[in-house]
C-alpha cells in the first residue's frame, strides 16, 4: 500500500513536471506584482517564468510586462487580476490556442503567432464578454 501510494505520488510528480513548461517571461515589474500559481504566490520579478494557469496580480501602483514564447506581449496595469487560463503552443508548427481572462484592471496586448494560427485561436474573456483576437494590438479594461 505504502509502495503503491509512493508510486502514485511519483507518477503524479512526473505528470506535473511535464506540464510546467515555460510559456512567458517577465520583462519588467514594479510595485506589488505577483504570479499566483495554485496556492503559491511568487514575486513577478524580471526574468520570472510564467506557466499556463498562472494568475498575474498587481496592487495599486503595480505593473507587469511580459513576452510569451509565441511573441505575444502583455502589459498588465495597476489593480489588475489576469489569468492565462489556457496556453497551448506547438513551436514547430507555430499553432496553438490561448485564452486569457481579465477579472479586473487593465491589459494591453500585442498578439503573436498563436493569434495568426487560426480564427479566434486567441481569446480574451472579461466578466461580461468574450473577445476573439484577429492579429492586433489592443487594450482591455475591466473597472471594479
Amino acid at each position: 500500500m505504502v509502495v503503491r501510494s509512493l508510486l502514485l505520488a511519483l507518477s503524479v510528480g512526473v505528470i506535473a513536471t511535464s506540464a510546467q513548461a515555460e510559456i512567458a517571461r517577465v520583462k519588467s515589474a514594479s510595485g506589488i506584482a505577483v504570479i499566483q500559481r495554485g496556492t503559491a504566490r511568487i514575486p513577478a520579478a524580471t526574468g520570472a517564468e510564467l506557466q499556463a494557469g498562472d494568475y498575474l496580480e498587481t496592487g495599486k501602483t503595480g505593473r507587469i510586462s511580459l513576452t510569451f514564447i509565441d511573441n505575444t506581449r502583455f502589459a498588465v496595469g495597476p489593480n489588475s487580476r489576469v489569468a492565462v487560463s489556457k496556453f497551448e503552443y506547438d513551436r514547430t508548427r507555430q499553432q496553438g490556442s490561448f485564452i486569457t481572462q481579465v477579472d479586473r484592471g487593465s491589459l494591453a496586448v500585442v498578439s503573436g503567432k498563436i493569434a495568426k494560427s487560426g480564427r479566434d485561436a486567441m481569446k480574451v474573456r472579461t466578466p461580461n464578454s468574450l473577445l476573439g483576437v484577429r492579429g492586433t494590438r489592443f487594450i482591455v479594461e475591466v473597472p471594479k
Binding site: 515555460e22 517571461r25 517577465v26 520583462k27 519588467s28 524580471t46 526574468g47 520570472a48 505593473r63 510586462s65 511580459l66 513576452t67 514564447i69 511573441n71 506581449r73 502583455f74 502589459a75 496595469g77 513551436r91 514547430t92 508548427r93 507555430q94 481579465v102 487593465s106 494591453a108 500585442v110 498578439s111 493569434a115 479566434d120 481569446k123 472579461t126 466578466p127 461580461n128 464578454s129 468574450l130 473577445l131 476573439g132 483576437v133 484577429r134 492579429g135 492586433t136 494590438r137 489592443f138 487594450i139 482591455v140 479594461e141 475591466v142 473597472p143 471594479k144
Partner: protein, 193 residues
C-alpha cells in the same frame, strides 16, 4: 438616450459599476487587425471592432466609437509593453558547426541584444531546405538547433534562457520547389525576446 438608459447610467456612475471596454490600436508597423466581440453580456454577438483607434464598450449591446485620445493611464500602459522580438540569422559551413565568416559578427550582435533586454529569453530555431521528407527535416532542424544551442552555450551564452526549436522546411528564406538544395534555406535563426 432613453430616460431609462440615462437612469441606469447614473446609477452605474454612482455605484461605480462602469462597463468593461476595449480599445483597438494600430499595429506598430502601421497596419491593424481586428477584435471580434464573440459574446457580450452573456449573449453571442457578431460585432467586429475593425477600425484602428476605436473604443468598444462591452457587457450590453456593443457600442463602437472612434477613440479620440487615449486616457493618460492607457498611454502609460501601452508604453509599458515589452519591445518586439528581434531575429538574427546564422549560417554554417555545410555539415559543421563552423560559422561562415559573414555570420561571426552576428553572434556579437546577439550577445549585445540579450544584454540590453532584462529577462531575455532566446529561441534557437533550425531551418532546412526542401531536400528529404518533411518529417526528416523536422528532426534534422531540431537536432541542428540543439547543436547550435550547445555551441552558443560554449561561447558563454546563458543556457537557462535558451531553447531549441526545429521548424523543418516550413519557413523557407528562399522559396523553392520540393527536393531542392539551398544553402540559403539551411540556417539557424536566433530569436531574442
Amino acid at each position: 438616450m432613453s430616460p431609462r438608459g440615462f437612469a441606469l447610467c447614473v446609477i452605474c456612475a454612482l455605484a461605480g459599476c462602469a462597463h468593461s471596454s476595449m480599445v483597438l490600436l494600430p499595429d506598430e508597423d502601421g497596419g491593424h487587425g481586428q477584435v471580434a466581440i464573440l459574446e457580450s453580456g452573456g449573449k453571442p454577438t457578431t460585432a467586429i471592432v475593425s477600425e484602428a483607434n476605436s473604443r468598444a464598450s462591452l457587457g450590453g449591446a456593443p457600442s463602437i466609437k472612434p477613440l479620440g485620445n487615449l486616457k493618460p493611464e492607457e498611454a502609460v500602459l501601452v508604453n509599458s509593453l515589452p519591445p518586439p522580438a528581434k531575429s538574427f540569422t546564422l549560417y554554417f559551413l555545410e555539415g559543421t558547426t563552423d560559422m561562415t565568416p559573414e555570420s561571426a559578427p552576428v553572434l556579437e550582435q546577439i550577445r549585445a541584444e540579450i544584454a540590453k533586454r532584462p529577462g531575455a529569453e532566446v529561441q534557437v530555431t533550425g531551418h532546412t531546405d526542401t531536400v528529404g521528407s518533411s518529417a526528416d527535416n523536422d528532426a534534422l532542424s531540431q537536432k541542428r538547433a540543439e547543436e547550435i544551442l550547445n555551441l552558443l552555450a560554449s561561447k558563454g551564452f546563458d543556457r537557462t534562457i535558451m531553447s531549441a526549436v526545429g521548424r523543418g522546411e516550413r519557413e523557407l528564406k528562399v522559396p523553392t520547389a520540393d527536393n531542392v538544395e539551398s544553402p540559403a534555406n539551411r540556417r539557424v535563426e536566433v530569436i531574442v525576446r
